[in-house]
Amino acid sequence: MEHYNMNLTLKVWRQKNKNDQGGFETIPAKNISSEMSFLEMFDVVNEGLISEGKEPIAFDHDCREGICGACSMHINGRAHGPWAGTTTCQLHMRAFKDGDTITVEPWRAGAFPVVKDLVVDRSAFDRIIEAGGYISINTGNAQDANNIPVDKHKADLAFAAAACIGCGACVAACKNSSAMLFVSAKVSQLALLPQGHPEKDSRALNMVAQMDKEGFGSCTNTGACEAECPKEISLTNIARLNRQFIGAGFSSEK
C-alpha cells in the first residue's frame, strides 16, 4: 500500500486527575506517517507538547503488540478505533486520511474511573479474577501427554476463550457497560478443561457476584462487545456463562 503523510486534528479528552471535571482539547498532529501505529502518532504529538512545555497526553500502553490489553481508548466512537479485531497499538494510521479530525476518549464506565486523560483504572477486572478466576489448588507439573484426555474441540474453545487480554473494550463498547464478555471468557477458559471443571459452579457464582458489586451493567445481548473485542471472543461464551450460572444457582447448597 502507498505510504503517505497526513495532518490531523485530534480532539482528546484531558483530565488532570480522578476528581477533575475534564474536557476535550483540540491538538494538531502534523506530518503523521501512514505507517505509524496510533500510539506512535501519540508519541510524536507528545514530543511536540513536551518541547512546547505542555503536559503530554497520558495514555496506557505496555506491550505494543496487541497482547497486554493496556492501550484502552475510544477512537471516533469505536473501542480501539475503526478496525475489527485490533487493539489501539495495532491500529495503524493508514486507517485515517489527511485532514481527518479524530476524537479520542477514555473508556467510559463507572467501574473504570478515569485516572488521568485517557488512562482508566481497570482493577475492577482484577477483583473479578480474584473472586474465582483461577484453580485453587496447585495442578503440579505438566502431566505425561494424554494422561488427562481432553477433547480437541473443547481444547480449541478453551484456547479461544483464553485469548482474552482483559483490555475492557467489551465494557467500553457496551451501552450498559457490562463485563459479561470478559467474565464469560474467563469462566469458559477454565470450565472447559479438566483442571478448571471441578470448581465451575462456585466460580460462576462468585465471579458474577463480584462483577455486579463492581457496578458493571447487565447484558442485553446487543453484541457490541463481540463486535469490538480485539481477540474476537464469541458471544457463545456468554451463553455458556449463563448456563453455568443457572446450573450453579439451582444446585448450590449455601
Partner: protein, 227 residues
C-alpha cells in the same frame, strides 16, 4: 446462593425478564389466533362464543390474572435493569458507534417496551375492563339458549375511529421492534446459542414473532376500519 440472592444478581434479573418475555410471546401467539375470528363474517358468533368461553373458564381466568402479574413483573424488572445499566456509565461518550456495532432494535428495547406498556393499559381498559365490568351489548344466535356479550360489536365500534386504528398500528410496530431482538435475546439469556439452532431461533424471532404476528394483529383494526 439463595434464590432471593440469585434473582437479585444481574443474570438472575435477566432470567426473570427473559422468562416473562417468553411467556408473553406464547400469549401473543394464542391471542392472535383467537382474535383472527374477528375477521369472520358471522355477526361475531364464533368470536363471541370464544370470548365467553375464555371469560368463564376457571383455568383460563387463572392464567389471565397471572398474565397481568407477568406483564407487571416483566416491565418492572426490565425497567429497573435499564436504569441500573444507564447508571453504570455516569459520563457518556461524545461519539457513539450507532449501528456499527449493534442492531438498532437491540438498543430500543426499553422504549418499545414502554410504548407496549401504555398500549396494554389502553387495550385492557377498552376491551377487558368493559367485557368484565362494563355495560355490554348482547347478541342472540340461532340455537343458543342465552344471549352472548357482544364483544365483536364493541370491537367493530372501537375501530370505526381512525385514531384508535393508528394507535393500534403504532403499538404493533413497537411489538415488532421489541420482539425482533427480544425473542433471540431471551434464548441467549437462557444459554441457548448453538450453531445448529441459531438459524431456527433467528427465523422464529425475526419472522414469526417480529414480523408475522404483529402484522396479523395490525390487520384486524385496519380491516374493520375499511369494512
Amino acid at each position: 446462593m439463595k434464590w432471593s440472592q440469585f434473582f437479585n444478581t444481574s443474570i438472575g434479573k435477566k432470567l426473570l425478564v427473559g422468562a416473562t418475555g417468553l411467556f408473553l410471546c406464547s400469549f401473543v401467539l394464542v391471542h392472535l389466533v383467537g382474535n383472527l375470528q374477528l375477521l369472520k363474517n358471522d355477526r361475531g358468533e364464533a368470536f363471541n362464543a370464544y370470548a365467553a368461553f375464555m371469560g368463564h373458564n376457571g383455568l383460563i381466568q387463572f392464567i389471565a390474572w397471572g398474565l397481568k402479574i407477568v406483564i407487571l413483573l416483566h416491565a418492572f424488572v426490565a425497567i429497573q435493569l435499564t436504569f441500573s445499566n444507564r447508571a453504570a456509565r455516569p459520563v457518556k461518550y461524545a461519539v457513539n458507534p450507532g449501528n456499527q456495532t449493534s442492531s438498532w432494535f437491540s438498543r430500543q428495547m426499553a422504549i418499545m417496551g414502554s410504548i407496549l406498556f401504555i398500549f396494554i393499559v389502553i387495550h385492557l381498559a377498552q376491551f377487558w375492563a368493559k367485557f368484565h365490568y362494563g355495560d355490554m351489548p348482547t347478541q342472540t344466535y340461532e340455537g343458543m339458549a342465552q344471549p352472548l356479550k357482544d364483544l365483536y360489536a364493541v370491537t367493530y365500534d372501537a375501530f370505526q375511529h381512525g385514531w384508535v386504528v393508528i394507535i393500534y398500528v403504532i403499538s404493533m410496530i413497537a411489538l415488532s421492534f421489541h420482539l425482533i431482538h427480544g425473542f433471540k435475546s431471551a434464548c441467549q439469556t437462557f444459554g441457548l446459542n448453538h450453531k445448529k439452532y441459531n438459524g431456527l431461533i433467528n427465523f422464529i424471532g425475526v419472522w414469526i414473532f417480529g414480523i408475522a404476528i404483529p402484522i396479523g394483529f395490525a390487520i384486524i383494526p385496519v380491516f374493520i376500519f375499511f369494512q
